[in-house]
């Protein structure tokens, strides 16, 4: 007799724990053949606010970690992903893409994490500066994390797109609250499990699944989100920017209506990091 297969209850990774939506609501997810696969949590505005709270608690401690330590933790994430790469690729094929295409995305995603693991102790030397002012001051500009970054993942590239948005934020000590692809939410559930075992402190990355239109107004106006990053359509961008104006929130959005090559090298690196840091200039006196 064949063994009865155990199905999994997908849970969102928030505050270092695995949660279902406080509302109890779920969305049925089918596989590529149309068969029922799992019930995905349909997170609410309240879940989003809870996630922001978790991110607020975790952020300062994460920002205080040494750059070297942050790099090691990100590298640990690649180890967790590599070990479960096949499972992650399988989760991408739920949408109907080929196994080869899914494997290519997972490989690129792992490479992207390696890339940012190497940035943690270098971006400051690229983005910051010592400024030769015309007075007796040691004048220098350093970067600081913005705080909590709200992330809106694209519908396609459910692993590579999501990670390409999260990584530049957390590299510098930001914490994030991310809404995963609405069409392909399951890979983010697996990614949460990998993040949970990567030594990344709980609450630094919070991953929600749910309906974009329900959550976008809260992403726009929540004052503790200091920046928004991600992919949005024209209507969403307008709503997000209108809300952002109320607290002069930083907005860094790409257009959903234009194709995005997430595999491209220019989708990673110092300029992505720059978009999610603040610059601080200090005038330090020189002299005895």
């Amino acid at each position: 007799m064949s063994r009865l297969h155990i199905t999994k209850t997908p849970k969102c990774y928030v505050g270092g724990a695995f949660i279902r939506s406080e509302s109890g609501r779920v969305t049925e997810l089918n596989d590529a053949s149309g068969a029922f696969f799992a019930n995905i949590p349909q997170c609410t505005r309240k879940d989003l606010r809870n996630a922001v709270e978790a991110a607020a608690k975790a952020g300062p401690g994460w920002a205080k970690r040494s750059a070297f330590n942050r790099g090691q933790i990100l590298y640990r994430l690649t180890e967790m992903m590599e070990a479960r790469g096949v499972e992650l690729a399988d989760s991408i094929t739920l949408s109907g893409v080929s196994k080869a295409e899914a494997s290519r995305e997972v490989a690129a995603a792992i490479e992207r994490v390696v890339h940012y693991a190497g940035w943690t102790d270098k971006y400051e030397q690229v983005l910051g500066s010592v400024n030769p002012v015309a007075s007796a001051h040691f004048n220098f500009t350093v970067t600081e994390p913005m705080g909590i970054v709200g992330i809106l993942a694209p519908d396609d590239a459910p692993v590579l797109g999501l990670l390409s948005l999260i990584l530049p934020a957390i590299t510098t000590g930001n914490s994030v609250v991310a809404l995963a692809s609405t069409m392909q939410p399951y890979p983010s559930i697996l990614l949460g499990e990998m993040l949970a075992t990567s030594d990344l402190p709980g609450g630094v990355v919070n991953l929600l699944t749910g309906v974009r239109s329900e959550l976008i107004p809260t992403f726009a106006t929540h004052e503790h989100l200091r920046a928004l990053s991600g992919v949005a359509n024209a209507e969403e961008r307008k709503a997000l920017r209108l809300g952002a104006a109320e607290s002069v929130k930083r907005v860094h959005l790409r257009k959903a209506e234009e194709p995005i090559d997430w595999f491209a090298d220019k989708m990673q690196g110092a300029e992505e990091i720059r978009a999610l840091v603040e610059f601080k200039t200090t005038w330090h006196p020189v002299g005895g």
């Binding site: 004048n139 500009t141 024209a234 307008k238 920017r241 607290s247 200039t281």
Partner: protein, 497 residues
């Protein structure tokens, strides 16, 4: 006989203090250089001064005398449209010009500003009310320095974002405030041009003259027509610049309130923005600070340019153990500050920029008294005409007072106290603003710790209100985003591909 303080008691034997302020009158020492003003200023479009299409003009006055200086053309949406079109046409060549050549134009402008420095300083002081010693020694030389600094960047842009392709935005719309008219113009135009953009700039309604005189500098420098366009007017003109479909990047310096309005009005567009908005900076004095130096820094921090400074050190946080001593020293120091004719070389505080601003300051000072703070001013005589306000200090201010929360933009200092470093940081950061902060202490390690903990874009240690073209300036939180100055500021005028 010279007056002295009450006879010293032999036991404590404090140093006798000479009080000069009320002994001898200063002779007037007016700056007499010719500002070469015109009776009427037209807008500067496509390299030429032209009347506005509506034919309307508005008067600009000298805030120190309330006398009219000149008529300024009022640009409306159609004038802004003409300016933006001229800029767009000019961009075809300017954007393609080798950086080295663009740089040489900027060097020329820097040199010409230096040549005309005294003329610009007098014009700035007459139109805006700031003391001549500030316009002469700070505003104008710093404006020239900004052009000089950015000139050299024009052929080195690839070092700003290694490995990436950079391109100018095209036409940049810029709206600047009245507190540093020429300097804000330089902060905006120099990096924009170095990066290969063309600009349409709107000066503040009350201070258009040096911006329009800058048009003459552009002509003298042989700058290609349309690269710089200056449209004078009020809020509606500014809105037309910001919302014009051809301006793909908008740079604004002004209040947080207006900044938010601009962000909302551009929400449906893909325009890039730089926002340099308001502030309510904490100037923090620890008990080990060199007090006399700190007092000078506090005075410079709040009374520089009559306090019309977005990064003014308007909240003084003093460690409790030295609060009485600092207040006594401050009272003594403001007693000898000279308020009056901005053109007089001995004037410390000139005129408040406008009747409207004076009313706002007066209102907030009244609220300070009503809410129970202890007001001190130097009681000096103010000129009969013009807009003036005495340097004013409030002691016993608490965090909930309006004068501790709202940007006054005038010569008004609110003093609060703290006991520990943590309390100082908590109070300093307890504001929606995050533009700048000051720290006064003898300990270098404490400076660096405070700089790390303070939520502000600029931190001055044992100094205040220092600026330099190489040093990025700008805020965090509701004080805006983007930088001006340094390589970080210049990159805000380029798109990265």
């Amino acid at each position: 006989m010279p007056k002295t303080l009450s006879p010293s008691k032999p036991k404590t034997n404090p140093a006798r203090e000479l009080v000069f302020g009320d002994l001898w009158e200063f002779d007037p020492a007016p700056e007499t250089a010719d500002p070469k003003l015109k009776k009427k200023y037209d807008i500067f479009i496509n390299g030429r001064f032209v009347p506005s299409r509506s034919g309307k003009y508005f008067a600009t006055i000298n805030p120190a005398t309330e006398a009219k200086i000149a008529d300024i053309a009022l640009a409306d949406a159609s004038d802004v449209d003409a300016a933006c079109s001229a800029a767009q046409r000019a961009f075809i060549n300017w954007g393609r010009l080798p950086g080295k050549e663009r740089g040489k134009y900027l060097y020329r402008i820097a040199r010409l500003l230096q040549d005309h420095a005294r003329e610009f300083a007098v014009a700035e002081t007459m139109d805006g009310g700031k003391p001549i010693k500030e316009s002469r020694d700070f505003d104008v030389p710093m404006a020239a320095a900004h052009f000089f600094y950015h000139a050299g960047w024009a052929d080195k842009l690839e070092f700003l974002a290694p490995g990436r392709q950079l391109a100018p935005h095209g036409v940049v719309g810029q709206v600047i405030p009245w507190n540093f008219p020429l300097l804000m113009l330089a902060w905006k135009i120099a990096p924009a041009l170095a990066a290969g953009n063309c600009v349409v700039l709107k000066p503040a309604e009350t201070t258009s003259i040096t911006a329009l005189k800058f048009g003459e500098i552009c002509q003298e420098a042989g700058l290609p027509n349309g690269v710089v366009n200056i449209v004078s007017g009020a809020g509606e003109t500014g809105a037309a610049v910001i919302n014009h479909p051809l301006t793909s990047k908008v740079a604004f310096t002004g209040s947080t309130e207006v900044g938010k309005i601009i962000m909302r009005s551009l929400a449906g567009t893909e325009k890039k923005m730089t926002m340099e908005l308001g502030g309510k900076a904490a100037n923090i004095i620890f008990d080990d600070a060199p007090l006399d130096q700190a007092v000078e820094g506090i005075v410079n921090g709040i009374f520089f340019n009559q306090g019309h400074v977005c990064c003014a050190g308007s909240r003084l946080l003093v460690q409790e153990s030295i609060a009485d001593e600092v207040l006594a020293k401050l009272k003594r120091r403001i007693a000898v500050l000279r308020v009056g004719d901005p053109l007089d070389k001995n004037t410390d505080l000139g005129a408040i920029n406008s009747a409207e601003q004076l009313a706002k300051i007066t209102d907030l000072v009244k609220s300070g008294v009503a809410e129970g703070a202890e007001k001190h001013d130097n009681g000096c005589k103010l000129p009969a005409k013009g807009f003036f306000f005495r340097p004013t200090i409030f002691a016993n201010v608490s965090m909930s007072h309006r004068i501790a929360r709202e940007e006054i933009f005038g010569p008004v200092l609110s003093i609060l106290t703290f006991r520990t470093l943590e309390e100082a940081v908590e109070k300093a950061n307890n504001t929606a603003y995050g533009l700048s902060a000051g720290v006064w202490t003898d300990k270098g390690s404490r400076i660096l710790k405070m700089s790390t903990l303070l939520k502000a874009g600029v931190v001055w240690a044992n100094t205040y209100n220092k600026f330099d073209p190489t040093s990025p300036f700008g805020g965090s939180k509701e004080s805006g985003f983007g930088r001006e100055g340094g390589k970080q500021g210049l990159l805000d005028y380029l798109t990265v591909h």
